[in-house]
Amino acid sequence: MRHNMYVYILVMAVSIYVIRALPLTLIRRPISSRFIRSFLYYVPYVTLAVMTFPAIVEATQVPAAGAAALIAGIILAWLGAGLFPVAVSCCALVFILEWFL
């Protein structure tokens, strides 16, 4: 069932605020469990990777352009390019490729 958009927004805002506020207010010492620290360390990489592929290929009009953007983005980031140069290059590549494809 589909809820009102403002209900969704409220749930999103409250959940994310709780995640940020709880450690800041409750945890005054570093987390001592090695497993939990390692788990929290690995979480963002899995989450972001899962959300990036295959979604990037499905986001563009021509799947091959999205795939090319993925590969180019990985190469640029590997070579040390920052957040915004990588993002802009991916956009530019898709824009150019979709002229031809």
């Binding site: 999103m12 940020r20 990036t52 040390g80």
Partner: protein, 242 residues
Amino acid sequence: MPETHGRAALRGFRDGLPIGLGYLAVAFSLGIQAKHLGMTPFQGFLVSLLCNASAGEYAGFTAIAGSAALAELALVMLVANARYLLMSAALSQKFHPDTPFFHRLLVAFDVTDEIFGLAIARPGYLDPFYLYGAFILPLMGWSSGTALGIVMGSLLPARVVSALSVALYGMFIAVIIPPARKSRVVLLLVLISFALSWLCGVLPGLSSLTGSAKVIVLTLVLAGAAAALFPVEEEGGDDRAA
């Protein structure tokens, strides 16, 4: 030696400028995603003003697109934003023990990867007013960029929208690849995540998983396995901060 709160806020405001500009550009791409859900520009402005997260909001949008239950939406927000638990925990060490409690509550509002990077880079105890100053432009850039993406998304030619819609993924890639280059474990983890994420979409039994369920399940399983098999050393845990 200590700066006044006003000076600290001004310094924060200045440091927030490049972050705000970058957010404006990337939030545009998030706005295009929000538009697919039928969000109005005001709703996009509101959700970005209240959440201040790229991957986090995107994960939430995925859940809404799948008409997820509210509990599932809350769960995917928890998982997709779990890294903020770690950042907030680290940030809690940066305040003087006498810092009033309400400052901790206010600072929690806008802990993002980039702001965390600024905060950790400051020497010594952190003046909360430095962060309040630093919040202003990134908050404005992020929320108005999202609204702009929703408005412009329908005005721009489809090919331009198609190109802009990969900006968000480009940013995700730029976050995960540098640590993957340094650590074989992270590299392997990223590749396995790509592969399983794709498999979940094509395997008959698994393709019924909604986008957000896929994010939750794969994150818990893969990050859990990695933590059990390759626990992070003391020093390694924090160097992904910026």
